[in-house]
Amino acid sequence: MRAVGTRPAAEQPTAAPATARRPRRSLARALPVTPGVVLLLLFLAGPIGYCVYLAFTDLQLTGQAESSFIGLDNFAEAFGDKDFLNAVWLTLVFTVVSSLIGQNTLGLTLAALMQRASKPVRTLTGGIVVVAWVLPEVVAGFLLYAFFRREGTLNAVLDWLHLPAQNWLYILPILAVSFANVWRGTAFSMLVYSAALNEIPKEITEAAQVDGASGRRRMWHITLPMIRRSIGTNLMLNTLQTLSVFGLIWVMTRGGPGNRSQTLPLYMYEQAFQNSMIGYATAVALLLLLVGSLFSLVYMRLLRTEV
């Protein structure tokens, strides 16, 4: 996609004597790819294939010698299960609140503010937000657990402002974990948008400014259309990352209280290991994988229009 200068050798029309050598040569060229391909086939494609197979069986964790093919029963069971539908709903809330609204909007706002802010403030804020992103997932989980607990920092701050304290992890667990994901993931959006905003030529915004366009109109009519590809890419990657969050929620709430913060990955885990239903959990996993694949395809489409 970048090295267009040199004409690809493999596509050059080859003279008659060379045709016999061609397959062997391209085979030799493909040789270095082998270790990677073997690894991917055995440990990535293999499990995905196994996932598709298992989803149609009733394999259990213990006490069962043979599993049998049961067709679409797992899927039928899932869509009739209140807990599954609850998990789908919570996953949707978690994704919309923390990825679409939270990380994306806050990341863009921070990037836009940084364009105007003074350098020390920009460096300080950028640094703090990035540290939150670089920290291991489980550590982030503990920090936000401490933050949202009844005896935690958030209530101390609210108390100081003379506002009523709440048991956040009990009354609004899904919002607490969503905010935790915003805290942890905003840096990525901020970096993507900062890079995109830096690429907008100064002349364009200045011309609009001279023409008398207000800040908000410039944002809406000039900046946003110019970075729309970054927005698309960022939304895809954020959503994919958010769909597969497990550790953060596990550490903060274990999916509880009850199942009020149990998103699909946690539901899948509980079905597999607390309820020993490997086949059923795999069917749920397959659904998650299909949603992920769909987003992947859209993302690839976006990249293609970009290059």
Binding site: R2, A3, P8, R29, A30, P32, P35, G36, L39, L40, F43, L44, G46, P47, I48, Y50, C51, L113, M114, R116, A117, V121, L124, I128, V129, V131, V134, L135, P136, E137, V138, V139, F142, L143, A146, E151, T153, A156, F188, L191, A195, N198, T233, M236, L243, S244, F246, G247, V251, P265, I278, A281, T282, A285, L288, L289, G292, Y299, L303, V307
Partner: protein, 283 residues
């Protein structure tokens, strides 16, 4: 609003900068609170869940966790897992990226598209089938099994990044080596890879950091507590040891996080600013 018309452009810019600074500082304050908790609590003899200046400063929390069982063994396990898997990822990615970057073919672009597709797949989703598969082939609870899976899960993105960095190395430099009779493998090792040092550093650090922080994969694939990496063993501070000693949890969190923070600073510096990863991910 009428007043603002009288402001000179310079004064207006200054006001806008001040407003932006104030807004950013508010966000920074909100983001820094959880970070302040972990730092202050680690030095506090009587830490709880609130951010507060310790009444009694101590290094006792660090002393208490810096023992083999709590810190050194899990960190060593993390290092073996992530180091081994990163090494495997980088070797496979560099080898695979070379033909993809140097020759164009239909198979090559199809392979690259598959790689890009795999980059985005939610690995979390396949962990239950991976567990079932690992039980069948007796790789469950083994370090090498986990290393192989880690490497495979990180490989698509590593290949993609590596190929993009390799595209930046001009082909002419290699052609000189070819005329001198170097094989493609020699020109990869002697010419291309040395020229893309920063690129390799980024891919290495990125892969390592992702694995170092990963909780779900070792949580599922390892069973023996003696083999657990720090990302899983940190949960022992809850449950296994009775009441939670928050100061020690904070101290351990800091120790466990330090390597990835340092590594990030290392590559952010080398590539001039933190935009490298964001830009690289953009493709």
């Amino acid at each position: 609003m009428a007043r603002s018309v009288k402001l000179t452009p310079a004064a207006r810019r200054a006001t806008r900068r001040l407003a932006a600074d104030a807004a950013l500082l508010v966000v920074a304050a909100a983001f820094v609170l959880p970070l302040a908790w972990v730092v202050l609590s680690s030095l506090d003899a009587r830490a709880d869940l609130k951010v507060k200046i310790p009444e009694e400063f101590t290094f006792g929390n660090f002393d208490a966790v810096l023992v083999p069982d709590v810190t050194f063994t899990p960190l060593l396990n993390s290092l073996i897992l992530c180091g081994g898997a990163t090494l495997l990822t980088i070797v496979c990615a560099a080898l695979a990226a070379y033909p993809l970057s140097r020759y164009r073919s239909r198979t090559g672009s199809a392979f690259l598209a598959t790689i890009l597709f795999a980059t985005c797949l939610p690995i979390t989703a396949i962990m239950v089938p991976v567990y079932a598969l690992f039980v069948q082939v007796e790789l469950i609870d083994t370090m090498h099994g986990t290393i192989l899976f880690f490497a495979a899960s990180q490989l698509p993105f590593a290949v993609w990044l590596m190929k993009n960095f390799m595209d930046g190395v001009p082909k002419e430099l290699e052609e000189a080596a070819w005329t001198d009779g170097a094989s493609p493998m020699q020109s990869l090792l002697r010419v291309v890879l040395p020229l893309m040092g920063p690129g390799i550093a980024v891919v290495t650090v990125y892969s390592f950091v992702m694995m170092w922080g990963n909780f779900f994969v070792p949580f599922m694939l390892l069973l023996d507590p003696a083999q657990m990496p720090a990302s899983v063993s940190i949960n022992d501070f809850f449950g296994n040891r009775g009441t939670v000693v928050y100061g020690q949890l904070a101290a351990f969190s800091l120790i466990y996080s330090t390597p990835v923070l340092l590594l990030y600073i290392l590559i952010a510096r080398r590539l001039g600013g933190g935009f490298a990863l964001g830009g690289a991910v953009k493709g």
